[in-house]
């Protein structure tokens, strides 16, 4: 068995309009992460990551080794997007004097050493499915390669010139024009839709059962299974609206874990609120599960890209500890499944979903404690 023993999250509900960019839009961001970024000494994704790199926890992990330890940086992309060579000149534009640190694997290596993770250091570039997809890697390393601990750090350069331009151009985010017309971010709703981009990060430690048995730490959750799938599509930035990818991921994780549809009662959706995701995810859930309640976090914290899958799962664990499954914000219709109002957590397991460009779909099943 695999247990989540420690985690830290960083996200923000602070929203600001960027009207000096090609596609004006509101974003959830930490303004301080870009302070003096044009000096070339500061790198926004590193500044966001620092919010979850807890000094005491990292020292404890480093000084109390438990055995074979791996480190995964779920970066969403192979290099952080802000270093794009396009000639931007906005508040988000920065230079970076020390180029190697723009490469995710170099950054991963540095942070891994600081956590005492010396046995396996990798990065993941599975776009917005990245951090949830790494739970399949966590599972593989612990179950099949005898690792004792896997540490996951996830952060992406979400609020950067390049990302905002890409999502603006592809009409995936809510534009300021749409917000001015009264549209608010939401998911599975007939009036409101779409998302804002956001900054966020998460740090999570997964331990094997043998580590937990020797420890006095009380686990935060049990990772029952994880699975990632793809689908038949020629559009690598689109989704099959029949939910093929989501279905394969959900059935894959249930099959691997020996979990039945009836056991799952809470779903953390990918929930971008785009027309295609609404269709794909809702169809897939309707075809695979029985009775459940579903929520989404992107309306509250923005779409934190590669970090979103794991970060939102951890935020759900926080909410479950408080005794609530939160509503999907800005729903305009009463809905007891795709929640328009918060509810008390029903008994059962959690299914967490994420999707990413390249037609990747990730699913994880957890039991919260």
């Amino acid at each position: 068995m695999i247990y989540l023993t420690h985690y830290r999250t960083a996200s923000t509900t602070s929203v600001e309009l960027f009207d000096d960019i090609v596609y004006p839009q509101k974003v959830n961001w930490f303004p301080e992460s870009y302070a003096r970024s044009k000096s070339g000494l500061f790198y926004a994704p590193h500044k966001v990551a620092e919010k979850v790199l807890d000094a005491d926890l990292m020292q404890s992990l480093r000084e109390n080794p438990v055995g074979k330890t791996a480190f995964i940086l779920a970066g969403g992309n192979a290099h952080f997007a802000g270093i794009s060579q396009r000639p931007y000149n906005t508040r988000l534009t920065y230079q970076y004097k020390f180029l190697p640190f723009t490469l995710t694997q170099v950054y991963a290596g540095r942070i891994a050493q600081a956590c005492g993770a010396n046995d396996h250091v990798v990065t993941d570039a599975s776009a917005c499915a990245s951090s949830l997809k790494t739970l399949m890697d966590v599972q593989t390393l612990i179950k099949f390669y005898n690792f004792d601990r896997v540490i996951v750090l996830t952060v992406e350069d979400g609020v950067s010139d390049a990302v905002l331009e890409f999502f603006g151009e592809s009409k995936a985010v809510l534009t300021q024009k749409q917000e001015d017309a009264g549209i608010l971010p939401s998911a599975f709703d007939s009036k409101n839709f779409g998302f804002r981009v956001g900054q966020g990060a998460a740090f999570a430690v997964f331990d094997s059962e043998r580590v937990l048995n020797k420890s006095t730490v009380y686990p935060c959750a049990r990772l029952i299974g994880a699975y990632s799938a793809s689908e038949s599509s020629t559009n690598a930035i689109g989704q099959c609206e029949d939910g093929e990818g989501f279905v394969k991921a959900i059935q894959g994780v249930m099959g691997f874990s020996g979990v039945t549809p009836e056991q799952i009662s809470i779903v953390k959706t990918h929930g971008t609120g785009t027309q295609s995701n609404n269709l794909a995810e809702k169809t897939a859930l309707g075809n695979t599960l029985k009775e459940f309640v579903a929520t989404s976090y992107k309306q509250k914290i923005g779409h934190t890209m590669g970090a979103s899958g794991l970060l939102e799962t951890l935020l759900l664990l926080d909410d479950l500890k408080k005794g609530v499954v939160p509503a999907i914000e800005n729903r305009t219709e009463t809905d007891k499944v795709y929640l328009s109002e918060p509810v008390s957590p029903p008994e059962g397991l959690i299914l967490s979903l994420a999707a990413g460009m390249g037609n990747i779909y990730s699913a994880a099943i957890l039991k919260g404690f």
Partner: protein
């Protein structure tokens, strides 16, 4: 004038991977490797120190690989266009 060892220790603390410890320097002759600073730490430190001493990036600075604090100091003094007023202000500039 800024105590260079104090400045060096502050910059090393900023340059090390998050919260990774190192042994603070106490003498100019000490070797960076003996303090737990590897070559990557050294490169990052040079980037910060050049910023603090107003030394522009160029091909020459990229070839600087001082091994002791004294060598680092000598490079800064020989090429500086400015210098930090205090360690506290320097920390504000690079942290």
């Amino acid at each position: 004038m800024v105590d260079f060892i104090e400045l060096f220790n502050m910059v090393a603390k900023v340059a090390k991977p998050v919260h990774m410890s190192f042994t603070p320097a106490t003498a100019m002759e000490e070797k960076m490797a003996d303090l737990g600073l590897d070559s990557l730490d050294g490169l990052v430190m040079m980037m910060y120190l050049c910023e603090l001493y107003g030394i522009p990036d160029n091909d020459e600075t990229k070839d600087w690989h001082p091994t002791t604090i004294q060598e680092t100091y000598d490079l800064m003094m020989a090429n500086k266009t400015t210098e930090p007023e205090s360690v506290e202000k320097a920390k504000e500039q690079i942290k």
